[in-house]
Amino acid sequence: MSWRLGLALLLALLVAVTLGFAVGSVPLAPDVVWRALFGAGDASAVAIVQGLRLPRVALGVVVGAGLAASGTALQATLRNPLAEPYLLGVSGGAAVGAVLTVVFGLTAPALLPLSAFAGATLAVVLVLLVARAAGGRADPRVLLMAGVVIGAFCTAAIMVALATAPENTVRGALWWMMGSLGDAQWTSLRWIALYVALGLALLIWWGRDLDVLSLGEDAAASLGLDVERVTRRIYLSASLLAAATVAGAGLIGFVGLIVPAIARALGTRTSRGTLIASALAGGALVVAADVVARTVLRPTELPLGAVTALVGVPFFLWRLRGQR
């Protein structure tokens, strides 16, 4: 990744973040926003920016970075430009894990991402098994079909788990399953940011492995890569990233699909470059999508996952045409 691209993406993130702080029921000017962020200026502006909007925007950046990096890693490992955690059912598995802990009353902020991680990992294993049984994971479409099926099963499982829950819980859970940054709180955000940072750091560390793995299993083996072990590590890291985002903001689809494609279109050629560019662009995209979700039908807020899906599905169909 070139420095110019890095700077441009950083700038895009900065613009998105500023918008995220500025837009809302009380609109604020960009200069007011940045002063308020550092505790200067009008007290109510400081309260709005620091107390209300900062955790929300920060969660958006973390979730976007995590989803985009997860998609980048899954695409390279599976050699499938349509792979991403939501369509592969990984996010669905994470949601099952998260809902189960909530149903059983285990709501420690550190624990939620971990149980989501367990669910995500289980979903990856299931999807790969289903894809193998259905004709091999080499066919990108078979793999996605397996992912969508497992995702549907996860949704059903969540509905069953919530069948006896009080109405308020169900409403909250449904909102969460459509994806939202509305529940952003520092206590949980800290843990989510930690897990996303960990997953991202691991993937960047293994960037060269990811480059080699994306050549295909035989070529990777001929270069001395332990294909099974490295693949397992990458799946685990990508699942951790997806799980952390689900624990923080629910199911947000297509970010992991769109953002790596944008990063590559902007000229990143190595996995490390694509990961870093995707993390920056993903943060910007999710924060921007959240601004859209908050503003188009104001004062009603749209689910964030619906906004990303409205953009993502046409994009997916367009990419699908390019597949054999």
Partner: protein
Amino acid sequence: MIRVEDLVLRYPGAAEPAVRGVSFAAEAGRVTAVVGPNGSGKSTIVRALLGRLAPERGTLTLDGRPAGDYTRREVATTVAVVPQREEPVFPMQVRDFIALGRYPHGGAFAGRSAEDRGAIDRAVARADVASFLDRPTDALSGGEWQRVRIARALAQGGRALVLDEPTTFLDIAHEMAVFELLDTLARGGQAVLLVSHQLNLVARFADHIVLLHQGRVAASGTPDTVMRGDVLEQVYEWPLVVARDPAVGAPVLVPLRGRGTR
């Protein structure tokens, strides 16, 4: 360089081994070819050389040391395998693609050392790919692509090169160019092990041919000793004659029409 002795290979869960007691050696400075009909065990041997299938019996030695004593990366710096099929899903620059040949030499954040750069430059020169280093991998012709892949294998720095059906999808000119390149590499001291269907081309370029049939060696030796009508007819289960090509007098297999034994 590469020596297999009494090698038995079986896929996990398979009732019968795919390779049943094969022995041959691919020496430095020679082109050795493993040929045979579909299902004769050629690709299985490549899988074993890739380290993706462990021998059930017999030995596979590299430079006189059992392959099992090497780490994966050590194998990759000794023997470079060019697998049959490879299509990058995400195109990269040819320069970066060839540089991946240095992967077995470096850690996660290894930069390009002088040694790496030297090995890459030499590989680029030997495979004659300098003119398209700045192109993306999806903008190469079939022949250019094979040469780029050979360049990556050479950048690995080993003295043995294994190629699985390197010319399957190439037209005559590109096919000949690849074989000429392999010949030049062998004359330069490389051990070249070729797994191929192209019996007639192999007969012109290989120093030693190993003919496989149902997982066993049906014949092994110089092209003249292996390319015998009676042996080939039995292995390929098809009537044929062996003639001499008019240009250089190499043996040529000519399958006959209309009297199939299948």
